[in-house]
């Protein structure tokens, strides 16, 4: 089965500055693929290109094994950088335009407006909508015609916490029906919560890509102190999942893999004759982890 999306060596620059540099990616059907990166890393450029809106300088891409075409885009629900609607037209009228382009019957419109919680405001002009409602309408438009793929650029942009929760639930619900979702985000926890796969972009270059579990598995920090620091050091060195041990005054710090159980570690040390009087497992913040990934991979 052909991948839902295959990108080969895409590059694009704006007046000499590379926005995207030799970017390649394969998205298998049914996966939720996150493109993670700080602002200006090339996420929007990537999505703009695969949606046919932006022209790459070089490189190719394929949807479902076919070269890009207007026809293949009809199978995609696109959410661009910002909601694009006529301010003087109502939500319903705006979606009529989208439905026509996609070749979808107008009866779908009520359905998607309902799912976006906009049914009671469908006759209001778009300009009367709040930022969150505008974003929800844009999301509703992506669902028209039940497309095989959703391409979402910062889907929770401009939403309040309740809205963010709803959108993430919606994405999970759509994914659970076997649809492919490609989404860009600068929020690590969003990618972690929603995506099965992730590629990390920085300054237009892909730093790494793979399953979310592989890429984002975080290393916690262990702080430990006991009377005999030398013996403690030796014992920890021989323990699986404990790495980068260093001495910090009266205590040791180390990196801790996910699978290490601190209670068991403590029991093991006591058995070997070391009684820790200080033991602390510190969760790494996602932000610092992200910084670490991007720093380490450059």
């Amino acid at each position: 089965m052909a991948p839902a999306l295959r990108i080969d060596n895409l590059s694009k620059s704006y007046s000499g500055i590379a926005a995207l540099d030799n970017f390649s990616l394969i998205v298998e059907p049914g996966s939720v693929y996150g493109i993670l990166g700080p602002n200006g890393s090339g996420k929007t450029t990537t999505l703009g290109i695969i949606l046919g809106v932006l022209r790459p300088d070089s490189g190719t891409w394929q949807w479902f094994g076919n070269p890009p075409s207007a026809r293949s885009r009809k199978r995609i629900g696109p959410l661009l950088e910002k909601p694009n609607f006529f301010p003087y037209l109502s939500a319903e009228k705006n979606l009529m335009i989208s439905a026509r382009i996609k070749g979808v019957g107008y009866h779908h419109i009520d359905e998607v407006l309902e799912s976006a919680g906009l049914a009671d405001r469908k006759h209001s002009p778009f300009y009367t909508y709040s930022l969150g409602m505008k974003q929800r309408l844009a999301l509703a438009s992506t669902l028209l015609g039940d497309p095989d793929v959703l391409v979402l650029d910062e889907p929770t942009n401009g939403l309040d916490p309740g809205g963010i929760y709803e959108v993430r639930s919606l994405i999970r619900e759509v994914a659970s029906r076997g649809k492919t979702i490609i989404m860009a985000s600068h929020m690590l926890d969003e990618i972690e919560k929603v995506c099965t796969h992730v590629a990390i972009l920085k300054k237009g270059r892909k730093l790494t890509g793979g399953t979310t579990r592989e890429i984002l598995s975080s290393q916690d920090t262990l702080e430990i102190a006991a009377a005999d620091l030398d013996l403690l050091h030796r014992l920890l060195s021989g323990t699986r999942g404990v790495t980068d041990i260093s001495r910090d005054n009266d205590r040791l710090t180390a990196s801790l893999a996910d699978e290490v159980d601190v209670a068991e570690l403590n029991a093991m040390l006591v058995q070997k004759g070391v009684k820790p009087h200080h033991l602390l497992r510190r969760k790494q913040t996602l932000e610092s982890h992200f910084m670490e990934i991007t720093r380490g991979l450059q």
Partner: protein, 261 residues
């Protein structure tokens, strides 16, 4: 295909108040302009006062020539309408959205060409109805042959209206902002083409777009000075204009094809 384009453009235009205001003003100006210029207009030639009705302003068969000529000055309003409609789409990111949702760039052009054709058709029908209303009440013994005698000007008029709109459309597609596009179009019309004329050798000047478009319908006033003018629109200018229409739309497509939307 055209049904889809029509449906999309209909939703956009039907609720766009500015469009209807411009169209209403246009209609009023065309009818009133004809009536007032014909009723009260006069020219001074060799210290001799000549009233315009002597040009057979309101009577067949001269009517079509006069009416299509003076109505041609309002093509700028149609051009402005096309710029407003196109720039609207661009300003609100609609073309971007259309492409992402599965429209080809050629369809963006196609849909607007359809709109321009409809506007040219509306303008021509308006001229026909106005002409018939005035002509049948001012011509003593109008028969079909007399009415149709110089009706060819109507075809020239429709093509001329469409041609002006395609030029405006290209400006709108390239500069993407209504205000800038309108100013550029006017600057081109008033000085730009004259500047090029000045630089080009004489025979080529005839081939420039604005020169060709306006030459489709000859100036009927010239006959007052005893100068003979073409009594049909199907002169070289007509065919040059057709070529320009193809080139201008081709240029708009080429621009979209190789640029981001």
């Amino acid at each position: 295909m055209t049904g889809k384009w029509l449906a999309i453009e209909k939703v956009k235009m039907l609720h766009y108040r500015t469009f209807w205001v411009i169209l209403a003003l246009y209609t009023l100006m065309l009818v009133a302009g004809y009536y007032l210029s014909g009723s009260f207009g006069s020219l001074s030639v060799n210290n001799q006062q000549i009233n315009l009705p002597e040009l057979t302003v309101f009577a067949f068969p001269g009517l079509w020539h006069y009416l299509t000529y003076i109505s041609g000055f309002l093509h700028y309003i149609l051009a402005l309408t096309v710029i407003a409609l196109t720039a609207n789409d661009l300003q609100y990111g609609l073309w971007r959205q259309h492409v992402a949702e599965g429209m080809d760039r050629s369809e963006l052009i196609g849909a607007k060409v359809l709109v321009m054709m409809l506007l040219a058709l509306y303008s021509t029908l308006l001229v026909i109805l106005t002409g018939l209303a005035f002509g049948l009440s001012h011509t003593a013994d109008a028969d079909l042959a007399l009415v149709l005698e110089s009706a060819g000007f109507l075809i020239g008029y429709g093509v001329q209206a469409f041609a002006y709109m395609t030029l405006a459309f290209l400006f709108a597609v390239v500069v993407q902002r209504a205000g800038t596009a309108i100013i550029l179009l006017l600057v081109y019309a008033v000085v730009g083409e004259r500047l090029i004329l000045f630089l080009l050798p004489e025979p080529l000047s005839f081939y420039l777009p604005m020169a060709a478009f306006s030459a489709i319908i000859s100036n009927p006033f010239m006959t007052l000075f005893g100068i003979e003018v073409a009594d049909s629109p199907f002169t070289t200018a007509f065919y040059i204009s057709l070529a320009w229409i193809v080139m201008l739309l081709g240029a708009a497509y080429a621009f979209l094809r190789y640029n981001d939307v």
